[in-house]
Structure formats: structure tokens, C-alpha cells
């Protein structure tokens, strides 16, 4: 309510709740402060606070013998990450995988969501939404392992492709991209579907009436309107792929991604400072990505 309160309560007896209510009604800024207090405390103090403390740890060293964190400031961790070529390779590989997963999901989600939103009857539409959503409830790990079984030599993928003389990609980065695309597909379909639903059918018909062929309508009318929704979906597919370290262990053969480096250093090496330094990479990428998406005005479309 942005209007200034114009009425004061005239009730003769005010209960406490009522008096607070009236007071709050007269003081919008107090209402705002109240509303912001809890979420603010939670996210700014608890979440950003934890994040900040962890990031500070990146500038610390560890004891050579006990592995205990020592509070002396050093840039060694960053120096190692920047100078050793392996980390650059892993970082680029992770970006590539995340981008590829996002692309694959976009290409699959677009026609599926289009069919759901614009072609299917309302009853079928509901069924389809349920059908796309249901796998989200099956355990992520189990699905990833199912793909492992499918990609194995002589597994389902080989078996399906053998009639056409092909065979599956085997374990490796390709298998990782396919599995991740599978896992995160619903996170792309849903926003795109919602975005398509918001585009009035009349608009598409008008375009057709003006003589535009379907593909032209799609390119010139649907895609621009859908762009924010696509960006919104891509935040999920991109960030979830960038953060994954389990799938690549299951189907990735001998490959590793950026999150494996963080995970290995924290759990295997017990090296919090180095892991924190390595965590700067996904943080910088994702914050940059979010800022870019916000500039495109797509944050509200999630």
C-alpha cells in the first residue's frame, strides 16, 4: 500500500492487536521494517555472513602437519589456482559442460513446452505437466545411477543404438552432459511452459493473419517474448550443472569438474582455505550470470 493512511481508527476500545494494527497502519515504514526483519536477518546475516566467513578463509594457510587452519594471510591458494594450468582446464571444462547442458535443455524444452502450452488440450496439458514433474521426486542419485547402467558396455543405450549400427558414448564428458541434461530438464521446461502460457494465442493468430509462416512467428514473436523465461530456466540448468560433483563421478569416466576440486579439497584434503579459494570460481561466474540476467530483466520470470 503506497497510499498514505487517511483514516484513523475510531473504535472506542482498542485491543492490543487492534492498537498495534492501527499503529502499523499509520506507519508504513514500521510495517516495511517488520516485514524485512526476518528475511533480512536470515539471508544477509546468516547466509551472506557464512559465505563471507568462508571466502575470508581462502586467504588463510594450513599447518603442514596437522592440516589445521592457520590464521596467517596468504595468497598462495589463489596463486596455485591461477598459475597451475590444470585448474584453468577444469574451469573451462566446467563452463563448457554447464553451457552445453543449458543449450541441450533449451532445445528440448522449447518444443515440449510449446506443445504443452499451445497445442495440447487443457486436460492433456495438465497430464503432461504432471508427467514432466513426476521424475523430479525420484531420487537424483538413483536416476544418475540408472544412466550409469544405461551407458555401460552392452547397456540399454548400446542396445537401443545397435540396430542402426551405433553404440553409446561410454562413460565420459558426453555421458555427463546427457545425464545432467536429463536431470535438469524439468527446471527448463517449467519456466518456458509458464512463459508460453502467458503469450496470448491471439498474438500468434495475428501474426499468422499477417501472413507470417509458423517458424517466422516463432522467431519474431514467440522467442523475443519468451527470452526472459529461457534466461530464468537457464539459471537453474547452468548453476546446477556448474555445482555438480556427483554425476560426473558416476558417469564421467575419469573426468573431473570444478566442483570436484572444491569437494576433494574440503573432504579429502581437509583443506578449507584451498577449497574456499576454489569456490571463488563458481561464485564469480554465477553472480556475474545473475547480474547479466537481471540486466536483461529476466529475474522476475523465475
Amino acid at each position: 500500500m503506497t497510499t498514505v493512511a487517511t483514516k484513523t481508527s475510531t473504535a472506542p476500545e482498542l485491543s492490543r492487536a487492534r492498537s498495534t494494527s492501527a499503529w502499523l497502519h499509520r506507519h508504513p515504514s514500521a510495517r516495511l521494517l517488520g516485514l524485512l526483519s526476518l528475511p533480512g536477518l536470515w539471508l544477509v546475516v546468516a547466509y551472506l555472513g557464512s559465505l563471507a566467513v568462508m571466502l575470508i578463509a581462502a586467504f588463510w594457510a594450513t599447518n603442514d602437519f596437522t592440516g589445521a587452519v592457520e590464521h596467517r594471510t596468504t595468497l598462495d591458494n589463489f596463486r596455485a589456482l591461477v598459475t597451475q594450468p590444470v585448474y584453468r582446464r577444469v574451469a573451462l571444462r566446467s563452463l563448457g559442460v554447464a553451457a552445453l547442458v543449458t543449450l541441450v535443455d533449451t532445445l528440448i524444452a522449447l518444443p515440449m513446452a510449446y506443445y504443452m502450452a499451445k497445442v495440447a488440450s487443457p486436460r492433456v496439458r495438465r497430464l503432461l505437466v504432471v508427467a514432466v514433474l513426476t521424475p523430479l521426486w525420484a531420487s537424483y542419485l538413483v536416476k544418475a545411477y540408472a544412466w550409469r547402467v544405461m551407458f555401460a558396455k552392452g547397456g540399454v543405450v548400446d542396445w537401443l543404438l545397435s540396430p542402426v549400427g551405433g553404440h553409446g558414448p561410454g562413460f565420459g564428458l558426453r555421458a555427463t552432459v546427457i545425464t545432467l541434461s536429463y536431470l535438469w530438464l524439468p527446471f527448463m521446461v517449467l519456466p518456458v511452459f509458464a512463459g508460453l502460457e502467458r503469450i496470448p494465442d491471439a498474438l500468434l493468430e495475428a501474426s499468422a493473419d499477417q501472413g507470417a509462416r509458423p517458424l517466422r512467428t516463432f522467431r519474431s514473436v514467440v522467442l523475443p517474448l519468451l527470452f526472459p523465461a529461457l534466461l530464468a530456466g537457464s539459471i537453474f540448468t547452468f548453476s546446477l550443472s556448474l555445482g555438480d560433483y556427483i554425476t560426473v563421478k558416476i558417469v564421467g569416466g575419469a573426468s573431473q569438474l570444478a566442483s570436484n576440486v572444491i569437494y576433494d579439497n574440503i573432504t579429502t584434503g581437509g583443506n578449507l582455505p584451498f577449497a574456499s579459494a576454489a569456490a571463488f570460481f563458481p561464485i564469480i561466474v554465477m553472480v556475474g550470470y545473475l547480474l547479466a540476467v537481471r540486466r536483461a530483466g529476466a529475474l522476475d520470470d523465475l
Binding site: M1, T2, K7, S9, S21, H25, L32, L35, L36, P39, W42, A46, Y47, L48, S50, L51, V53, M54, Y114, Y115, K118, L128, V129, A131, V132, L133, T134, W137, A138, S139, Y140, L141, V142, K143, Y145, V149, M150, A152, G155, V156, Y182, V189, L190, F193, A194, A208, I235, S239, G243, S259, I266, L272, A279, P282, L290, L291, R294, L299, D300, L302
Partner: protein, 265 residues
């Protein structure tokens, strides 16, 4: 409307898409009857042994309970905080308002491992004992945005005129919220809450870093058991059951909100 050929192409894509979505789930279901202890493919023999063993698995059942408790706890916190934030953004103009979406989105956009390590480190620093509570805190942090987005979209769409009318007619702000705003917001909150619950229910990475001994969520139980030769097949059973059970919340969503869970507006 697309042409007939285009239409056929769309139908075909949809069909293939669904097939690919369900193929791995079918593999899981078949493997739950696979007699091999490491569910190697193709199955040679079939057995219902794993199903009966899963039925008697107290570990899986208690993990399910922990997961539901954690999911409900996280969803409750997300509902309260997400709604508050949505009100603050939709009904007031203030300095920094534009940063809210970004801030709320951060926990879900940053890799789980970053959030997990950060929280784990902070809990230890402050001396919070690990347990169900820390899992709930971790989960709600990234669940808030789901409720917030749903609530914000609804609040913006319905505008504030009804609330103003209610106030003009003498209703206090609590009354206005209870009788005017909340009923209109309910289905959006439900959709957001369900999504939050779903996300919490299958979360593993942040949970890995925020749980304690004896407090195991279902994904953690699955993670611990999937890699053991005597237990892997039981995990397939649990996953198959989860897929079947997931019809409950999805059906509930349809009934209560009258719209699919994903369609948030």
C-alpha cells in the same frame, strides 16, 4: 497454431521427450527386481527379495521420516520468510528493493557445495550442534526464493486495491491479511511451498555438510547405501516407491491450486 506438419513434429518431440524422461525410471523399476547385487544389466534373474527387504528396512523408513520433517520445517520457514519478503517488495518502495530478488536467488544459484561448506563452517564457528535443525536451516535458505517468486507474482497480479478497500472499510491489517489477502494468495503459496518441499526432499549436497550422526535424510541414506553391494538393489526399490508416491503431492497440487505446480502464475 502451427501447421499440420509442424504439429506432427511437435507431437513426435513430446512423445520422444516423455519416453526419454521415463526410460531411466523404467530401468530403476526393472532393476528393483534384478537379482544381481550390483544390479548389473541386463538382468539374468528376477527376484522380489529386495522389495521384501526394503519393506523391512528400518533405516530407510527412519530416513524417510527425517526427510519429511526436514522438508516440512524448511517449507514452513520458507513460507513465512518468502511471503514477508514478497510483501515488502510488492507493496512498498524502498532503497535496495531491486537487490532483493538477486539476494534471494543467490542460495539456489550458487552451487550447493558452496552453500554447504559455508554453512558447515559457520555452524562450527558459532558452535551450533549439527542435526535436524541445521539441515532445516540449510534447506530453507535456498527454498525461500521459490515461495517468494510465487507470492510476488500473485501479489503483483492482484494489486493492492482490494486491500485498500478493506482498510477503508475499517479492517485492521491483520483482518485484511486474514480475510482478503491470504485467501487470494493461498494457491500461490501452496504451489511455492510444494516446490520448496520437493527441492528439500531430494537435496543431497547441502545436506551432506549440515547433517549429524543418526540424522539421515533419504538422499543421504540412498547415498550411503547405493554403493554397498548388499544394499544397492534396495535403493532401487526405494526409488521406485518414491516415483509412485510422488503422484500424491502432484495430485494434491492439482486439487488444491487448480493449476499445475510448475505453472506459477
Amino acid at each position: 497454431m502451427p501447421s499440420t506438419a509442424g504439429r506432427r513434429l511437435l507431437v513426435a518431440t513430446m512423445a520422444v521427450g516423455l519416453l526419454v524422461i521415463y526410460l531411466p525410471l523404467a530401468v530403476v523399476l526393472v532393476n528393483s527386481f534384478n537379482s544381481s547385487r550390483t544390479f548389473s544389466w541386463p538382468p539374468r534373474h528376477f527376484t522380489t527379495h529386495w522389495w521384501s527387504q526394503a519393506w523391512g528396512s528400518a533405516g530407510a523408513r527412519s530416513a524417510l521420516r527425517v526427510s519429511i520433517e526436514a522438508g516440512l520445517g524448511a517449507t514452513a520457514i520458507a513460507l513465512v520468510l518468502g511471503t514477508m519478503a514478497a510483501f515488502a517488495v510488492s507493496r512498498y518502495r524502498w532503497f535496495g528493493r531491486d537487490g532483493v530478488s538477486l539476494l534471494l536467488l543467490l542460495p539456489i544459484a550458487l552451487p550447493g557445495i558452496v552453500t554447504g561448506i559455508a554453512l558447515n563452517n559457520a555452524f562450527r564457528l558459532v558452535g551450533v550442534p549439527f542435526g535436524l535443525l541445521t539441515i532445516i536451516v540449510g534447506h530453507s535458505t535456498f527454498c525461500i526464493v521459490l515461495v517468494y517468486n510465487n507470492a510476488l507474482a500473485r501479489l503483483r497480479r492482484m494489486g493492492s486495491s482490494l486491500e485498500e478497500a478493506s482498510a477503508d472499510l475499517g479492517a485492521g491489517i491483520w483482518q485484511t491479511f486474514r480475510y482478503v489477502t491470504f485467501p487470494m494468495l493461498r494457491s500461490a503459496l501452496f504451489a511455492g511451498g510444494l516446490l520448496a518441499f520437493a527441492l528439500s526432499f531430494d537435496e543431497i549436497i547441502v545436506t551432506t555438510f549440515t547433517s549429524a550422526p543418526g540424522v539421515q535424510t533419504l538422499p543421504l541414506w540412498i547415498f550411503a547405501n547405493l554403493f554397498r553391494p548388499n544394499q544397492g538393489p534396495v535403493v532401487n526399490v526405494v526409488a521406485a516407491v518414491l516415483v509412485l508416491l510422488s503422484i500424491v503431492p502432484v495430485w494434491l497440487a492439482q486439487r488444491v491450486s487448480g493449476e499445475p505446480v510448475g505453472a506459477r502464475r
